[in-house]
């Protein structure tokens, strides 16, 4: 239940690329072929373990629709990691990556770890964007890259966890100031040293005692 760190993630990308499905696969381990359009932002959370430490991922799954863009931008701030998702079967979603990236960089903190995700890798026959293209784009912009399938769960865990590992490394290197919550990282609740009142209070049911 308790965690060492909490990382806030955002998932961004064009509408219909599978952002909510990725989240659902990661948090619930299931796939839902038909998904309601996300309004604004939805949430998910899951605990993972990195380097023996419990880390809670708090994931903000944003709406891809243009009409929500100005709202979802407000949510970028305070995220430690971002999953930037495109659909390998739709070239336009890949073409829009630059815009998404600019947006993300502009509205978030500079250390945010961004993972580029080419989703729907199970639909090989309909592929429009080659894996190499994704890799090249990621290399050029300093992102991590993976192809995933929310349907078959291929690489979904890895995508979320590798992002967390990268953030964790940055913390170890001292790049992230973990005391600044604007970085999207929180330290887990600290154990206080004393808590004696709980046990001593149990006998005190007769509250009528001494009055003054």
């Amino acid at each position: 239940m308790a965690y060492a760190y909490l990382f806030k993630y955002i998932i961004i990308g064009d509408t219909g690329v599978g952002k909510s499905c990725l989240l659902l696969q990661f948090t619930d381990k299931r796939f839902q072929p038909v998904h309601d359009l996300t309004i604004g932002v939805e949430f998910g959370a899951r605990m993972i373990t990195i380097d023996g430490k419990q880390i809670k991922l708090q994931i903000w799954d944003t709406a891809g629709q243009e009409s929500f863009r100005s709202i979802t931008r407000s949510y970028y701030r305070g995220a430690a990691g971002a999953l930037l998702v495109y659909d390998i079967t739709r070239r336009d979603t890949f073409n829009h990556l630059t815009t998404w990236l600019e947006d993300a960089r502009q509205h978030s903190n500079s250390n945010m770890v961004i993972m580029l995700i080419g989703n729907k890798s199970d639909l090989e026959s309909r592929r429009e964007v080659k894996k190499e293209e994704g890799e090249a784009f990621a290399r050029e912009h300093g992102l991590i890259f993976m192809e995933t399938s929310a349907k078959t769960a291929s690489n979904v865990e890895e995508a979320f966890i590798n992002t967390a590992k990268e953030i964790y490394e940055k913390i170890q290197e001292g790049v992230f100031d973990i005391n600044n919550e604007a970085n999207g990282i929180k330290i887990g609740p600290q154990h206080p040293t004393t808590n004696s009142t709980l046990s001593s209070s149990q006998g005190g049911q007769q509250a009528g005692g001494g009055c003054c």
Binding site: F68, L198, S201
Partner: protein, 503 residues
């Protein structure tokens, strides 16, 4: 401190009826920051060491509440009452006058329905006892027990009295008295009751989500510690943890972000205007603001609700949501379903209680009911905040209108539902715990009422967060309406992506 307070308002000491007859004070329930100070779990259990201190504070409060029946002798009287008083009174957000009113009626009711001697008689009796024993302290065990038994039976009627007179009024006893005492002192110290209405809107030092997150973390720690150290006392349901599980915290955080950004947008627009334009816009914004200061429980409505069985809740919610003019969606249904589930659960537990009822299952059953109550309150509150968050997003994205008055109505319906739920769960608890075990039952009941009170104030606060959103939406509509005729100054800062306060 109590002295200075009394001297500030001496006239009320002399005329107790004044408190009940000043409606402008008693209808004031704007949420205040203090209401959200969440209780540590361990304070639920009575603490002997602090007993005398609490009694002192309790009697201060009583004195302050001008219940002339419980006056200076009340200190010994409270000693007697101490054990059952825990489950009686309180409120998180009501004003002095409301509390006074509620207390007065609680006491009247208690006296008339149970034949418990009046506080004055109690005090006199206590004094006699004290004289006889030559000491002013201990209450005999049998006295405590008998008063406890009586208190159990009247709890439900008490709570309904409190709830119909107060607003977001809940229970508490000495813990709560202490709480109210401190809180009302703060209120009085401010010396300006009207200011409290605006305080919620203007003065935010800690955001609600921060407060709740801290509470949740505290609860998580406590759970761990109790599990490892103190296995026999496994309590049970933690509101904050559950609230977070239902993503209430996240929705609240997101709503706060939208509210903050809207607020700064409104400010930046206002700075670009001057003269008549500025006055005009301010007037318009004022009309949006008005329903926000009117959020309060309408007691008559709680009364008229079909004897409080809450069956009409879903329909009422649906009706209010339909009136919003925002396209209905899944989150509407989720909120309605949360209501429905709660009602079903309560009736299920009530019938279950009839089926079993042996003594050994009682405690287990009480814990179950308590856990279900806390869980239900946490879920309904989280869903309500989710609803407000989604409304804010829809209003901001599609520039659709949402009437502030309807939103205010929605807030009331949700708060009413919280209040009804807590009432039902506690009467469920009371009937489950027929045995004389007030020490187990009372903290649970207190806890349910307290969390219900908190729930209502979170919902009201989330509602207040919508105000800047509505203002921005109004300004946007306004500027797009005027765009056809003449370009106005406010257009520019709205249409560019305003990042004021972002970096």
């Amino acid at each position: 401190m109590s002295d200075s307070r009394v001297s500030q308002r001496p006239e009320e000491d002399a005329v107790p009826a004044d408190a009940a007859s000043s409606p402008d004070v008693s209808t004031d329930v704007a949420p205040t920051r203090k209401a959200r100070r969440r209780p540590e779990v361990q304070t639920m259990a009575p603490e002997k060491e602090e007993g005398s201190k609490r009694e002192e504070e309790g009697s201060k409060v009583v004195t302050r509440l001008k219940l002339t029946t419980v006056s200076t002798e009340a200190q010994s009287g409270w000693g007697y009452w101490g054990s059952w008083g825990k489950s009686l009174l309180s409120t998180a957000t009501a004003t002095v006058a409301t509390v006074g009113q509620g207390l007065g009626q609680v006491m009247e009711r208690a006296e008339s329905t149970l034949g418990i001697p009046s506080p004055t008689e109690l005090s006199a009796q206590m004094e006699e006892e004290e004289k006889q024993r030559g000491e002013k302290t201990s209450v005999s065990k049998s006295d405590t027990d008998s008063s406890l038994g009586g208190a159990m039976g009247m709890l439900s009627s008490l709570s309904s009295v409190v709830q119909s007179t107060g607003k977001t009024v809940i229970s508490g006893g000495l813990d709560a008295l202490e709480f109210i005492g401190k809180k009302t002192m703060d209120v009085i110290a401010e010396g300006d009751p009207g200011f409290r209405k605006t305080k919620g809107l203007m003065n935010r030092n800690a955001t609600l989500s921060q407060v709740l997150r801290e509470a949740k973390e505290r609860e998580e720690l406590q759970t761990e510690e109790t599990e490892s150290a103190d296995s026999d006392r496994k309590l049970v349901a933690h509101y904050g943890v559950l609230f977070d599980e239902f993503q209430g915290l996240s929705h609240l955080e997101a709503l706060e972000i939208l509210s903050r950004e809207s607020e700064s947008k409104v400010k930046s627009v206002l700075t670009t205007l001057s003269g008549d334009q500025l006055q005009q816009l301010k007037r318009e914004l004022q009309t949006i603001k008005e329903p926000f200061s009117l959020v309060e429980f309408d007691e008559e409505e709680v009364d008229e609700d079909k004897g409080g069985d809450g069956a009409g809740c879903e329909e009422e919610l649906t009706r209010v949501l339909d009136g919003l003019g925002v396209p209905a969606a899944a989150d509407h249904l989720i909120t309605v379903r949360a209501c429905k589930d709660a009602s079903a659960q309560i009736s299920h537990m009530t019938s279950e209680h009839v089926d079993r009822g042996e003594e050994e299952v009682e405690e287990e059953q009480e814990e179950e009911i308590h856990a279900a109550a806390i869980r239900t309150l946490a879920e309904l509150t989280a869903r309500s905040i989710q609803l407000f968050h989604k409304l804010a997003e829809k209003i901001l994205s599609s520039s659709c209108e949402a009437d502030a008055a309807v939103l205010s109505r929605l807030t009331l319906v949700l708060c009413k539902q919280v209040s009804l739920l807590s009432k039902k769960f506690t009467s469920c608890l009371t009937s489950a715990g027929t045995n004389d075990r007030g020490d187990v039952l009372n903290p649970m009941i207190t806890n349910v009422f307290l969390e219900a009170s908190n729930s209502a104030s979170y919902i009201q606060d989330a509602f207040v967060l919508l105000l800047p959103v509505l203002e921005v939406s109004h300004i946007q509509r306004r500027s797009s309406e005027q765009q056809g005729t003449e370009p106005i100054q406010s257009e520019e800062p709205l249409n560019r992506e305003t990042d004021v306060g972002l970096k």
